[in-house]
Amino acid sequence: MKKKVKVIVIRTAGTNCDYETVTAFKLCGAEVDLVHINRLLEKEINVMDYQILAIPGGFSYGDDVASGKILANEIQYRLMESISKYVAAKRLIIGICNGFQVLVKTGLLPGIDGIDKKEYTTLFNNDSGKFEDRWVHLKSTSKKCVFTKGIKNLSYLPVAHGEGKFLTLDKKILDFIKNNDMVVFKYVNANGGRAVYPENPNGSVEAIAGICNPGGNILGMMPHPERFVNRYTHPRWTRVTLPEEGDGLALFRNAVEFAKKNL
């Protein structure tokens, strides 16, 4: 009998994309637990019981101080011991939107030092100066990222954020990320060419929409793959021919399949 892959979706005050994230993993055959961060902090639950960890979108703790910062601090200062073990075992982490913001603030991304000693990257206010919900075209660019294996065509996914402009501390960091195949998604125009606003919805440097760590097992991205797992959430499903499956589902399936084989 094949073993069931176990996924932990972490939530806290202000998390709000948990239901659809849980659903996406379930569609791929995983067993999913939606767990409040308090259960981990109080050691009622151990992350090592899971192969995939997801931090969904939302406004954790209202994005007080800075987006994702308080949840990141809880992970960094009270949970890092078990998370380090988890990461060392090459298990998978995905942070979407607010989850991505959390990952860069914990030092799990870009993960240049393993767990980064400082914040090498950040997600800054959109150039447009406001929260925006819109669909974007994405080019999958990393060979090493577990989540995007085999994705060749452009993906079409929604973004919904006010702070998603990806920036690096300096050019050296940017080069490191590029040279180590850590750019996972880039915003492009409908033809796959260079994106300008609103195709690049936030003004991210080099139109970067998502990155992974050097090991390829931790992914952070601003767009929401969990919002497009079947054709009926595509904004034009009533007018164009589409497959039943949405572009976002591949990410969740890749993770579950990888975990089934390797973890």
């Binding site: 994309c17 259960r39 406004f59 209202g62 919900d133 919002r227 009533t238 007018r239």
Partner: protein, 788 residues
Amino acid sequence: MKNVKIIELLKAEDKKLLEISRKGLLSLTLAEMKAVKNYFKKKKRNPTDIELETIAQTWSEHCKHKTFRGIINYNGKKIDNLLKQTVIKATNQLNKPWCVSVFTDNAGIIKFDKENCVAFKVETHNHPSAIEPYGGAGTGTGGVIRDILGVGLGAKPIMNTDVFCFGPLDFPEEKMIEGTLHPGRIFKGVVAGVRDYGNRMGIPTANGAVIFDEGYASNPLVYCGTVGIMPNKDCFKKVKPGDFVVSLGGKTGRDGIHGATFSSIALDKDTEVSAVQIGNPIMEKKVQDALLQARDLGLYDAMTDCGAGGYSSAVGEMAEETGARIYLDRVPLKYPGLTPWEIWVSEAQERMVFAVPPAKLTEIMKIFERENVEAVVIGEFSGTGRLELFFGKERLADLDMKFIHDGGPRFELTAVWKDKNFPAPDFLCPLDLGNSLEKILSDLSVASKEWIIRQYDHEVQGGSVIKPLQGVTNDGPGDAAVTRPVLTSFKGVAIANGINPRYGLLDPYWMAASNIDEAVRNIIAVGGDPDKIAILDNFCWGSPNKPEELAGLVRASLACYDIAMAYGTPFISGKDSLNNEYADSKTGKKVAIPGTLLISSICIVEDIRSCVTMDFKKEGSLIYLVGETFNEMGGSVYLKNNGYTGNTVPKVNAVQAKKLFDRMFKAMQQGLVRACHDCSEGGLGVALAEMAFAGGLGANVYLDKVIKAPDLKRDDFILFSESNTRFVVEIEKKNSRKFETLFKNFAAANIGTINGERLIVHGEDGRVILSEDINKLKEAWQRPLRNP
């Protein structure tokens, strides 16, 4: 007594009674003050301040709907309880089996599927938004979400809708009344407030409308609505004597004192800002997470939200049958210094009150603690039928529940209707109607609201099927929004709205009829089932003490009954906000809003895969206009742009309309319809333009094909008449015969073809009266609110 003041009422004469009411911001009339005096006379004592506050809050127009439930003399005819004679009567007589709970709880509840029901509520937060737009609109959103959290034993919010009425963005400064904020500032503040609360709660704001009219320059309207989903078994609540009163969520502060009573009086420059509440969406999200868990474990008997009137209202409602003992010293405060009555009526946000059986207290408190949300036992439901308030050992109040809820005198009001008569339009039909169409598309009420919609997260929760923005570049205006609340099922929920205050200037009866028609046809346009539509009424009016204003309210209510009966659409919830007036300190005059009725609609969509959007899909398809066009230019945008109001308000042939809706549904179910859009502001012309530029496809249209009334002869009137119950429909050629057979006995005609990139309209004599590049039309539509 240490913690309360005794108010000398027994010796007070009429003048003094009124002074007490006015100075205390109690908003009670003389008759009401006398009833209070009599009650205490029998008790042989004077009331305490907190007792008076409790009565004022419970009897406020906001909470009690005294006008709607009063006795109205309407043009010599006596109406005993307008609400029961119109809106509620329609629901009772229609008696739909899928209506689960109507007009009793925080929201109306209808059946969704075998396991679940959905609840829908729309509220207004007008006065607070006028004074402090961001906070007022945010807490308006938070408040209606709490209504959904607090309906039955609790529902999970799945969709928001927001409808605003503002003054024009270019409203001249010299026309502003002292103390009001400029419409532009109110507009931005309100959008930001709704955005931040809704987005942080993770509820998609997927539907709405914005009306701009000078009538709202000093009194903006902010309607906030929320839909929620709940298991069948959790639709009802019942407090048991002996249950603990548990308060969950935010702490209590001095914010929002007198919100309930202040919403019942006209604003002026001295209105206190402390009447506006302060919102914290993350606290509310924590409350939601905690309460849904407790609900699923069955840990409480009843629960409601603290809205207007705070604890006074929440506990008062829950304890109506049992009575309660409350210890106000146990309430957690934001800061010290509040007097007990302030604690009792404060409208501090994000608080819910639970009735918890003693045996389940430990377990429920543990859940609340694990979610980091504060909960305190503040008393118990007693079984004495009395409301007793304590501070420590000191008893501050002892009132009979029966008196609080039923002791107030009924209002008796007079309504006199006078027919309106505006100058008849006197201008010629322009030779080229291109400019006229562009001008209508650029009208702020018609223009694209993309700037607002994109700031709302309208896709969170992953179920957004029919979005507010549609078409080839995702920017055309959708009719209704459809979502899938259960992601493993193809069942959906559609919501829409109808609002057009300009028709009310002519006759509120036909305004209400038109609004219901619009709310229903928006649902029909996306493929909703006309037999599964429920509606909500939200009246915003001026002072009911003015006979002409009140007559308008009566007429609108009468239409609600007539049209709902004919359409088979029960009202499941509603609300009224009266006294939307602003007192000009210079002239002493009170400026009222135009009487405004928002109709919201909700429909269960059996299978979302049959839904339809409004964008033209295919070159060569045929365009049909379904429904008859009349000479109904009154209140239209076209006449407004030409300086007229007109007199011929759009009417509704309700019996015929219902048949037409049924037929449209059939066509949708058979998959014949590729695109569908209703005709509303700007009529056929605007509907065609929007479908064309949303689809990136032009059209050739012939007005001589339009089925119309014999007295409708002008090309401009045919193109821009706002007659109700009309749809523009795209049918592929291969399906045209089937479609025509289906509509054999209906007013439906092929009026043109989809082709090219221009909208070309031929007049009755065959001459081209309009030929515009669709991108130029789109620009006219997008420009005004692109970066407001």
